[in-house]
Symmetry: C2
Subunit: 310 residues, 2 copies
Amino acid sequence: MKNLKIIGYGKDKGNKIIQFDNNIRHRMDETQSHYTMSVNAVEQALLVAECTIDDMDLIVYASAVGYQPIPCSASLILEKFEPKKPIPCMDINTTCTSFITALDTISYMVHDGRYNRVLILSAETASLGINPDQKESYELFSDGAAAIIVEKDETAESGVMFGMWQTWTQGAHNTEIRGGLSSLHPRHYTKENKAEYLFDMNGPKILRLVAKKIPEFVQQLEKEIGMTLGDIDLIIPHQASRALPVIMKKLGVKEGKYMNHVEEYGNMIAASVPYLLCLALEENRIKKGNTVLLFGTAAGLTISGLLIKI
Amino acid sequence: MKNLKIIGYGKDKGNKIIQFDNNIRHRMDETQSHYTMSVNAVEQALLVAECTIDDMDLIVYASAVGYQPIPCSASLILEKFEPKKPIPCMDINTTCTSFITALDTISYMVHDGRYNRVLILSAETASLGINPDQKESYELFSDGAAAIIVEKDETAESGVMFGMWQTWTQGAHNTEIRGGLSSLHPRHYTKENKAEYLFDMNGPKILRLVAKKIPEFVQQLEKEIGMTLGDIDLIIPHQASRALPVIMKKLGVKEGKYMNHVEEYGNMIAASVPYLLCLALEENRIKKGNTVLLFGTAAGLTISGLLIKI
């Protein structure tokens, strides 16, 4: 086990409430931005941890889409907190599973003693990139941010027990934003090609690939951890779509053993998993000693699982 | 020491040669792209390593600017190689020092046995983002890509000896591309604000901050590693600017002890350091047992040093 414990958590979401049938979505209003939501989430996390920014040893921004192309988003957000010491900043990106990957990756550095306290921030503003012509994704996403602070656990009671992620590149083009960076520079933006700069999701194709690959992944995961999904106290899955209960049922996970807030919060891209982790901690849904599986699919197609002990 | 050794390396650069006084710059021609340079670098690295893509356990794309906003660039490049197994993909970004950060970060995972063989790719197409109105940066950058494959070194003779990076956020706005992602979506692109989507560098401001912070950083680094820069066999610095020899002289590093190819290759953003690492290996400038310091500054402002033993 890589020893670390969660000592702070904070979140923010879009203030504007939009409803599609029974589904509530939270989108930024005119007073909000990627930046304000990020800052609010970090401020709350520091408050809960009873820390200042200078108690942090590393800042990781873990999201699909950054704030600016240059510099890294971690440094742009950190600037707001006017640190008195130089804190290393980095961005980690595996799209929707970025938070899971970041926690997995930095757990090795924390365990090893390289960094004692790490702040991981996921912030996403899906509303900027959704395409009204694609009803399924247009009605799915919310804007949100969540920050988690972890610290080396000297008692060795809490930590990351096991991590695994896999990328199936036959799904690389099933969920895309093609325009904005090197492949298609913003200078090429026109009214005719504007959809290239928006989220493009082929729902049926993803579902077919996910339906095939998730059971294989879970089988391997269960073997590696020596537990079944049913043995785990709580599963926090990425809120990928309204198909979540169907997938969980297929995997044999009972209602109540996993968090499903798709109707309430929608898909916040990489912010979904840490947002629900905050919620679970706030509501005392998970307690010291509990096992929690962070689990999700991402564009790529990536499937990711991280078993932690609280 | 985190045990790993370099088993493969490959690179590519822009075919179009442009000259500014004595400075040669390599920019993509119409047959090239971010994608083709990436693929060529990876193909070469696999050839040198005598591996196929399925021998890799993790793919890391380590660059300032990605190929597309979604999915992560690692999966988009990996797709080309049609892997038969699912290889985890991730992007790591600290702008110009992304390769250094990626090698530093994954060295913990390799040492621990999580991944045996990792491919790290840096690819940058600066020519897409430079602003002709900013002569200094317009004449500085080249396009290029470099890939390095590392493997766990069971003999424990080679590896990452020490890593350290710091971000001074007072420099966060000295080097920027503001437009393209969440802060300024491509839909807002106009002829009037087009510079917002291009690289914006305040050279004098950076140099002032760098001149102040680099000596402090190096002093701390030397203390931590118990060596002076002069004791290290070769320093591979980021090719940040033509001021490189001035900075190196100030740090007391003699000519011949560090790689300076700014005139020949320019600044390839995150690809500079691995590109020169490839060159040093190709030309047998470094041999088994040598100590090499990967060193650089990045937008952020980040300063990064990674001492490796070949």
